[in-house]
C-alpha cells in the first residue's frame, strides 16, 4: 500500500486548488464590475468540492501519497462540514464587504486557500502534512485578519495573531521534531508504535515533546492559558473574518488534535490526558468569567469560544470513543451556532458603523422580531438550554467525562455553564426587555435572510432530532480509529 500514490483520493483538494487559482485569475481579468461573478464562482467551486469529497470516499479507510494522506469516514464528515461553513460565511459576508467597499477578490481566494489548508489538515497522516496544512491555513488567516489594511485595529490584530501564531507553530514543529527524533518516524503509525512500546509517564523526553505539541495545539484551539490572541483578533478583524475564524478552523483544529493525539499517541493518553485537564479547566473558568466583563460583543463571543473549546478539550481528554465523538459533535454544532451569532453582528452593522458593542442589540425585538428570535436561539443554544442543539453537545461531552471517571470535571463544567448563562441572558435581555435607542430598519438581501433562517432552524432541528448527527459522529469516530 505504501508505494501507491492514489491521486484520486485527493481529487477534491486538487480541484479546489485549481478552482482557487481560477477565481484569482478571474478576478484579475474581470475587475471591479464583475465581482459578483467571482463570488458565484467561489461558491460554485466550493459546492463542487463538496460533491467530489462525498464521491471520493470508497466506504473504507484509504491512504494516498505513500501513506501521507488519509481518507476515512471522519475526514469526509469534517470536510463537508468545513466546506458548508465556509460557503455560509461567503454568503453572510457579502453585504458587509460591499458596504465597507472591501468586496475584493482576495477575500475569496484567501478563504479558499485557508479551506484547502483545513482539508489537508483533516486528511493528514504524517506530522509534516499536518504542519503543511496548518501553515497554509494560518498564513491565509493572517492576511485575512489584516484585510482592512487602512484600519489600525485590523492591522494590530493581524500583527498579534501573526507573532503568536508563528510562535505556536514553532512550538508544534519543535514537539514534532522531538517525536521524530525519538521514534524515527513522521507518520502517525510509526510514532504510534513507538509510543505504544514506551511507558510514557517515565519517558521524560517523550513527555517533553508531547508538551510542546500540546502547547501548539492549545494555541490553535485558543484554549487558556494560550488564549491571549483570541479576544484581540476577534475584535480587531473585520466581522466576516471573525466569523470565518470562529467557525471552520475550530473543526480543523479538532481534526488536528484527533490525528496527533489519538491517531499518533493513543497509547500515550495517560500523558496528554493530564496535560489537557488544566487546559480545559482554565478555559472553562477564564472564558466564562471574563466574558461577563465584556461590553464588546465580539470580545464576548471570543471569551465564550474559549469556554466552548474547554468543553471540546473535556471531550478529547475523556480518551474514550464517546468522548471523541462528543467533541466532534460539539465542534460541529458550535461552529454552526457561532456562525449564526456572528451573522447577527454583521446584520447590525450598517452604513459603515461597526455594531460591535453589546448595546447595539438593544431593542432588537421591537425592530425586527424575527432576527431577534434567531439570535435568541443562538444564544440559548450556546448557553446549553434544551431543546436547542447546544444542550446535546454538552450532554454528550458530560456523559463521556463521567464515563471516564472525572465526575468533578463534569460538575465544574456545569457550574461554569451557569456562570456563562449570565452573559447570554444579558444579551437576550437587551434584545427583548429594553427599548431601542434609535429606530433603524435593517435590510438584508434574500440570500442572507434565507441562510440565517436556515441556520436558526438547524439549531432547533438538531435540538429536536440530534440523534442523526450524533450517530454520524459516533460512526465516524468508531470506523476511523
Amino acid at each position: 500500500m505504501d508505494s501507491v500514490m492514489n491521486f484520486s483520493l485527493a481529487t477534491p483538494e486538487m480541484f479546489l486548488l485549481a478552482a482557487t487559482c481560477l477565481v484569482l485569475l478571474l478576478d484579475a481579468f474581470l475587475g471591479e464590475k464583475c465581482r459578483t461573478f467571482g463570488y458565484i464562482a467561489a461558491l460554485g467551486s466550493m459546492l463542487a468540492t463538496v460533491v467530489l469529497v462525498v464521491n471520493s470516499y470508497g466506504g473504507e479507510r484509504a491512504e494516498a501519497f505513500n501513506g501521507m494522506f488519509v481518507l476515512d469516514n471522519m475526514a469526509i464528515v469534517l470536510k463537508v462540514a468545513v466546506l458548508f461553513l465556509v460557503m455560509a460565511t461567503f454568503i453572510y459576508a457579502r453585504p458587509y464587504l460591499i458596504d465597507r467597499k472591501i468586496f475584493k477578490g482576495e477575500f475569496y481566494t484567501l478563504s479558499m486557500f485557508a479551506t484547502l489548508g483545513m482539508m489537508i489538515m483533516i486528511s493528514a497522516n504524517t506530522m509534516l502534512v499536518v504542519y503543511l496544512g496548518l501553515e497554509l491555513l494560518s498564513l491565509s488567516l493572517y492576511a485575512l485578519v489584516a484585510f482592512r489594511r487602512d484600519d489600525g485595529k485590523s492591522s494590530e490584530a493581524a500583527m498579534k495573531y501573526f507573532v503568536l501564531g508563528a510562535i505556536a507553530s514553532g512550538m508544534l514543529l519543535y514537539g514534532m521534531s522531538i517525536l521524530y527524533g525519538l521514534s524515527g518516524a513522521i507518520d502517525f503509525k510509526g510514532v504510534g508504535s513507538y509510543v505504544a512500546s514506551q511507558d510514557i509517564m517515565s519517558n521524560v523526553v517523550l513527555l517533553f515533546g508531547l508538551t510542546f505539541i500540546i502547547v501548539g495545539l492549545g494555541f490553535k484551539f485558543g484554549v487558556a492559558p494560550f488564549h491571549m490572541w483570541v479576544p484581540d483578533v476577534y475584535q480587531g478583524a473585520p466581522t466576516p473574518i471573525t466569523m470565518f475564524l470562529g467557525s471552520a478552523p475550530k473543526i480543523a483544529a479538532f481534526a488536528m488534535a484527533m490525528r496527533l493525539l489519538v491517531g499518533g499517541m493513543e497509547f500515550g493518553s495517560a500523558g496528554w490526558q493530564q496535560m489537557l485537564i488544566p487546559l480545559a479547566v482554565l478555559s472553562l473558568v477564564i472564558g466564562n468569567i471574563a466574558a461577563i466583563a465584556q461590553t464588546n460583543i465580539k470580545r464576548m463571543f471570543a471569551y465564550s469560544t474559549i469556554s466552548h473549546m474547554g468543553f471540546v478539550m473535556l471531550g478529547i481528554l475523556s480518551a474514550n470513543e464517546p468522548g471523541y465523538s462528543a467533541a466532534m459533535f460539539y465542534t460541529v454544532t458550535y461552529a454552526i451556532t457561532a456562525l449564526g451569532g456572528f451573522a447577527i453582528i454583521i446584520l447590525l452593522s450598517h452604513s459603515g458603523i461597526e455594531a460591535d458593542s453589546i448595546e447595539d442589540l438593544r431593542g432588537l425585538n421591537d425592530r425586527h422580531p424575527w432576527y431577534a428570535f434567531m439570535m435568541l436561539l443562538f444564544l440559548f443554544s450556546m448557553a446549553g438550554v434544551p431543546p436547542l442543539v447546544g444542550f446535546y453537545a454538552k450532554l454528550a461531552v458530560l456523559q463521556a467525562v463521567v464515563q471516564a471517571g472525572f465526575v468533578w470535571l463534569a460538575v465544574l463544567a456545569v457550574l461554569m455553564s451557569v456562570v456563562g448563562a449570565f452573559y447570554y441572558l444579558r444579551a437576550v435581555k437587551l434584545m427583548y426587555f429594553d427599548k431601542p435607542k434609535e429606530d433603524i430598519t435593517l435590510t438584508m438581501g434574500v440570500g442572507f435572510n434565507v441562510l440565517l433562517t436556515t441556520n436558526g432552524f438547524l439549531v432547533i432541528a438538531l435540538g429536536l432530532f440530534p440523534g442523526l448527527l450524533m450517530a454520524l459522529c459516533a460512526e465516524a469516530i468508531r470506523v476511523s480509529l
Binding site: F391, L395, L398, V402, V411, L415, V418, F433, A471, A474
Partner: protein, 504 residues
C-alpha cells in the same frame, strides 16, 4: 392503550398552537389562543375519564426511540400523580388566556404564544418517563418564563427574571450530572430502570442532594426561596399564576418521581434535613408573610409556606413508617401533600388573579393604597374572601383537605412536628385575614377606591370557575384521592425498600 397518542397531543397541540398564534398576529391572537387552550383542555379530559385508578402502572404510554446513541426514548405515560397535574395545567392555561384578554396590550401575540408553548412543555415534564426527556422539558420551560417576566413584567423585571433563570438553571445542572451518572451505571435513561438500579450509600447521598437542589429551588424550599417573591412581584398576572399554580408543583412532583423512589436510602438518611427545611418554611416564612406590604409578595410567601407542607408530607413517610410499621400513615402523608399541591394550584392561581383584577384598576399592589374595596366591589369581595378562607385552610374548601391530612399524618411521626405544622393554621389565618381586612374592609380609603368598578363578566367568569373548583375539591375530595391512591401506595413501596447493593 389507545391509538390516539393522547399525551403527545396534549404536549404538541399547544406548542403548535403557540406558533400559529405567533403567526396570526396581534389582532387574531386572542381568539386563536383561546381556541387552542380550550381545545387542549378538552383533549386532556379523556386522560381523567379513561384513567384506570386501580393500577399504579403508567397509562396512555407512548414509546419511540429518539436519540439512539444515548438510548434516550421519547417515552410518555401518566400515573395517578402526573395525570391530575396535567389537567391542572391545561385548566389553568385557559384561565390565563381569558385573564390576559384585555389587559395585555403590549405584543399580545407573543404573550399568548409564550403561555401556550409553556403549557405544552410543562405537560411534557409531567408525562415524560425518560429521565433525559424530563430534564429537557424541565429546562426548556425556563425560556418562555424568562421572556414572560422580562417582557411583560414590572419595573424591576430584569433583575427578577435573571435571578429566576439563574437560580433554577443552577439547581438543575447538578441533577443532569446525577442522571448521567446513573445512565453510566445502569445503561438506561428510563425512569423505571433507574428505580431498579442498585446504588451505594455515598452515591445515593450525592444524587439525593443534587435532586434536592434541583427540586428544592423549584418548590421553592427555604433557604433557596428568595427568587420566588421577586419573580412573583415583577411577573405579569398570568406569569404569577403559572408560577404559583403549576411550576412550583414540578418541584414537588420531582421529589415523588425521582428522589424518593430512586435514592430511598439516602432519602431515609437525610429525611431530617428536608423536614427541618419544610418546617422552617411553614413557620418562619409564615411570619415573613405577615409583615409584607405588597399583596403579591404576601401571597408569594404564603405559597412558600404552603409548599413547605407538601415537602413535609412527602418526607414524613420514613418517620411514620418507623413509628407505626405500616404503610397507611405514609400513604396518607403523601396523598395529603398531593392534595395540597392541587388545591394550592387553584387557590394561589385565584389569589393572583384577584390581585391582578385590583392591579388592573389601581396599578398598585401596595396594601396601604387600598381599604374599603368591599364598598365598591361587592361581588369581587365575595370571591376574594372565599379564596382567602381557602388559603387559610377553612373546612369545606380545598385548602383544608391537604393541610388536615398532612397534620394528621405528622401526629403519627412526631408530636412536635405536628405542633409546629399546625401553627400555620394560626399564622396563615393571621396574614390572610389581616390582608382581607386591610384591603377589603373598613371605610373607603381614597378617591381611587371610590371610583372602582366591580368585576366585569369576563372576570366574573374565571373567578366563578375557580371558586367552583375550590369548593368541589374541598367538599368532595374523594375522586381526586382515589385517582392517586394506587400510585402513592406504589411510591411508598419503592421509597421504603432499600436499594443498597447486597440487601435484596
Amino acid at each position: 392503550m389507545d391509538g390516539w397518542s393522547l399525551l403527545s397531543l396534549v404536549i404538541w397541540l399547544p406548542i403548535i398552537g403557540g406558533l400559529v398564534v405567533l403567526v396570526a398576529g396581534d389582532k387574531l391572537s386572542r381568539p386563536a389562543a383561546l381556541f387552542f387552550s380550550v381545545l387542549t383542555f378538552i383533549v386532556s379530559i379523556p386522560l381523567w375519564t379513561g384513567f384506570d385508578a386501580s393500577s399504579y402502572l403508567m397509562q396512555f404510554e407512548e414509546k419511540h426511540v429518539w436519540i439512539d446513541t444515548f438510548k434516550i426514548n421519547y417515552h410518555l405515560g401518566v400515573d395517578g400523580i402526573a395525570m391530575p397535574l396535567i389537567l391542572l395545567n391545561t385548566f389553568t392555561t385557559v384561565l390565563i388566556v381569558v385573564a390576559g384578554w384585555e389587559v395585555i396590550k403590549k405584543k399580545p401575540a407573543q404573550y399568548m404564544a409564550a403561555f401556550l408553548i409553556m403549557e405544552g412543555i410543562i405537560n411534557g415534564v409531567f408525562a415524560a418517563q425518560d429521565a433525559m426527556l424530563f430534564y429537557i422539558f424541565f429546562e426548556a420551560m425556563l425560556i418562555p418564563m424568562f421572556l414572560v417576566i422580562g417582557v411583560w413584567g414590572g419595573v424591576n423585571r430584569v433583575y427578577a427574571t435573571i435571578k429566576f433563570f439563574l437560580y433554577t438553571f443552577f439547581g438543575s445542572v447538578f441533577m443532569l450530572i446525577s442522571l448521567i451518572y446513573m445512565f453510566n451505571k445502569g445503561g438506561s435513561f428510563a425512569i423505571a430502570d433507574m428505580y431498579n438500579l442498585e446504588l451505594g450509600m455515598s452515591a445515593q447521598i450525592l444524587i439525593f442532594l443534587s435532586f434536592l437542589i434541583a427540586f428544592g429551588v423549584k418548590v421553592p424550599m427555604w433557604p433557596v426561596h428568595t427568587w420566588l417573591p421577586d419573580a412573583h412581584v415583577e411577573a405579569p398576572t398570568g406569569g404569577s399564576v403559572v408560577l404559583a399554580a403549576i411550576m412550583l408543583k414540578i418541584g414537588g412532583y420531582g421529589f415523588l418521581r425521582f428522589s424518593l423512589p430512586m435514592v430511598p436510602d439516602a432519602a431515609r438518611e437525610l429525611t431530617w434535613l428536608v423536614i427541618f427545611m419544610s418546617l422552617t418554611a411553614v413557620v418562619y416564612i409564615g411570619f415573613v408573610a405577615l409583615v409584607q406590604k405588597d399583596m403579591k409578595k404576601l401571597v408569594a410567601y404564603s405559597s412558600i409556606a404552603h409548599m413547605g407542607f407538601v415537602t413535609l408530607g412527602f418526607f414524613l413517610i420514613y418517620a411514620i413508617y418507623n413509628n407505626t410499621g405500616s404503610y397507611e400513615g405514609s400513604v396518607l402523608a403523601i396523598q395529603g401533600g398531593m392534595a395540597q399541591m392541587i388545591s394550592h394550584g387553584f387557590i394561589s392561581g385565584a389569589m393572583f388573579l384577584c390581585i391582578g383584577v385590583l392591579y388592573d384598576r389601581m396599578h398598585t399592589r401596595e396594601i396601604d393604597a387600598y381599604g374599603g374595596v368591599a364598598n365598591t366591589m361587592p361581588i369581587f369581595t365575595g370571591f376574594f374572601v372565599l379564596f382567602a378562607m381557602a388559603n387559610t385552610g377553612l373546612p369545606g374548601t380545598s385548602g383544608f383537605v391537604g393541610e388536615f391530612m398532612v397534620i394528621l399524618a405528622s401526629f403519627k411521626a412526631n408530636f412536635w412536628i405536628a405542633f409546629l405544622a399546625a401553627t400555620t393554621l394560626i399564622v396563615g389565618a393571621g396574614y390572610t385575614l389581616w390582608l382581607v381586612k386591610r384591603v377589603l374592609f373598613g371605610g373607603v380609603a381614597n378617591d381611587q377606591v371610590a371610583m372602582l368598578q366591580d368585576v366585569n363578566k369576563r372576570e366574573f367568569g374565571f373567578l366563578a370557575v375557580l371558586a367552583f373548583a375550590v369548593l368541589l375539591v374541598g367538599l368532595w375530595p374523594q375522586p381526586l384521592l382515589h385517582v392517586m391512591e394506587a400510585t402513592v401506595v406504589h411510591i411508598v413501596d419503592l421509597a421504603t425498600q432499600s436499594k443498597l447493593p447486597g440487601v435484596n
